[in-house]
């Protein structure tokens, strides 16, 4: 499972990354958290609002910090 976080490195993106890592750790699943802090990479992928969190290529949230509980929910399904 791959969790990608697109952003520009601002506090919101880092908070999302921290939440994602915490969710993965608390659930104990095998998942890779990959932050992509390159403004231009997201645009060509169709991401228009940051921070954006994707689980296995599916966009789950964009424009706000994802909460740990939310991320856990997405990992579980």
């Amino acid at each position: 499972m791959k969790i990608k976080i697109f952003g520009v490195g601002c506090p919101k993106c880092r908070a999302t990354e921290a939440n994602a890592r915490k969710a993965v750790q608390e659930l104990g699943v095998q998942a890779e958290v990959v932050p992509v802090y390159d403004k231009t990479a997201g645009i060509k992928r169709g991401i228009t609002d940051t921070p954006a969190l994707l689980v296995d290529g599916k966009l789950k949230v964009s424009g706000r910090i994802a909460e740990v509980e939310e991320i856990k929910g997405w990992i579980r399904t």
Partner: protein, 351 residues
């Protein structure tokens, strides 16, 4: 029994979540509005008579203290307003409105930019989103130029510590300038080429999130306001620290020679566009220059040019749309800033 206890706890929490942010907001509004009626500020302020009366190492602290006493109210108001906008405005709805094509996308891009980019970090992604949404490179550039130029915090402060006339000119010229520049660049060969490159990319849609209550949003507004304040105040403090020395020691004769009249306007525009200033710092810098004798018209040119572009932002945007587009809009920004300044020079002249 237990249910009503948790209910009461929730209700009390919700009351706090609503009272605190909106209460602070009202306090900020009050500090701005009260002096208009009472002819004196709501809370005591400190103003130095001559900055050079102080020792070299005292200068920045006196300067910052003076500004703090005068500006904490507007700062409070501006940050909470920013937080309220981030928490209550649905970016999705705004973006859909911009892409819908019903009202002119140029107009919407310029009108919504100040509301969409309270947090400047989302500027580039939203710009990218506009590029691929199908409205074209024109409205996307309009948004990109308007967002920092009409930044709400900056406009509030331009009004509060400079003058409402300068603020009005800044807002109006940024608005129409951003639209004009976006439209012109979209007509150039470089612009058209980049536009083609970006059409056809699918926007990723996030799944439906949950909706938040008024109390939750109000509390989020406070959290966002605090985040914004933390970000802005650090750079602002550093900026004002440096500016204190400018105001204390830059000879007014130099300012009078180069920063007045039409020369001043042109220099303001040409220097402003590449110059990078963190949010709000340009307002304080210009206030200091005005105190030293800079012409208001030249100040206006700088206040329009500086936010529209800057070397760092141009570097970032060039990676998306290439340097030709960037040069074009930078040059046009200089023209718009100079035009605004010259018109102000001819028509209004004073603060």
């Amino acid at each position: 029994m237990t249910d009503t206890k948790t209910e009461t706890k929730h209700r009390r929490l919700n009351i706090l979540r609503i009272l605190l942010p909106w209460g602070l907001f009202l306090l900020g509004v009050l500090t701005i509005v009260y002096p208009r009626f009472a002819n004196h500020p709501l809370f005591p302020v400190y103003m130095y008579s001559n900055l050079r009366d102080f020792a070299f190492w005292e200068v920045p602290f006196v300067y910052i203290f003076s500004y703090l006493s005068r500006a904490w109210g507007p700062l409070l108001f501006a940050f909470i307003l920013g937080g309220i906008i981030v928490a209550f405005v649905s970016r999705e709805k705004m973006k859909r409105a911009m892409a819908s094509g019903r009202v002119s996308s140029y107009f919407l891009a310029a009108a919504l930019a100040p509301v969409l980019t309270v947090c400047s970090c989302a500027m580039i992604p939203i710009f990218g989103g506009l590029l691929i949404s199908g409205v074209g490179i024109g409205p996307a550039l309009t948004f990109l130029l308007m967002a920092p130029a009409a930044n709400l915090l900056a406009l509030i402060f331009t009004w509060q510590i400079i003058s409402w006339k300068i603020m009005l000119f800044r807002a109006v010229f940024s608005f129409f300038g951003a639209m004009a520049i976006g439209w012109i660049v979209s007509r150039t060969p470089a612009g058209k080429e980049k536009e083609k490159e970006f059409t056809g990319i699918e926007t990723l849609q996030a799944e439906q999130g949950r909706s938040f209550s008024f109390a939750e949003k109000s509390w989020k507004a406070l959290e966002e306001a605090w985040d914004l304040a933390k970000k802005v105040l650090i750079y602002l403090a550093a900026g004002v620290f440096a500016i204190s020395f400018v105001e204390a020691y830059l000879p007014p004769t130099i300012v009078a020679r180069y920063l007045t009249g039409a020369t001043g306007v042109l220099l303001g525009a040409v220097i402003g566009v590449p110059t990078y200033t963190p949010t709000l710092v340009e307002v304080f810098l210009i206030r200091a220059m005005l105190n030293l004798g800079m012409a208001p018209a030249a100040a206006l040119a700088f206040l329009i040019g500086a936010p529209m572009a800057s070397i760092p932002s141009m570097l970032g945007v060039s990676r998306i749309v290439g340097w030709r587009v960037v040069y074009q809009y930078a040059l046009l920004a200089v023209v718009v800033a100079a035009a605004a300044g010259l018109i102000y020079l001819a028509g209004v002249k004073t603060l």
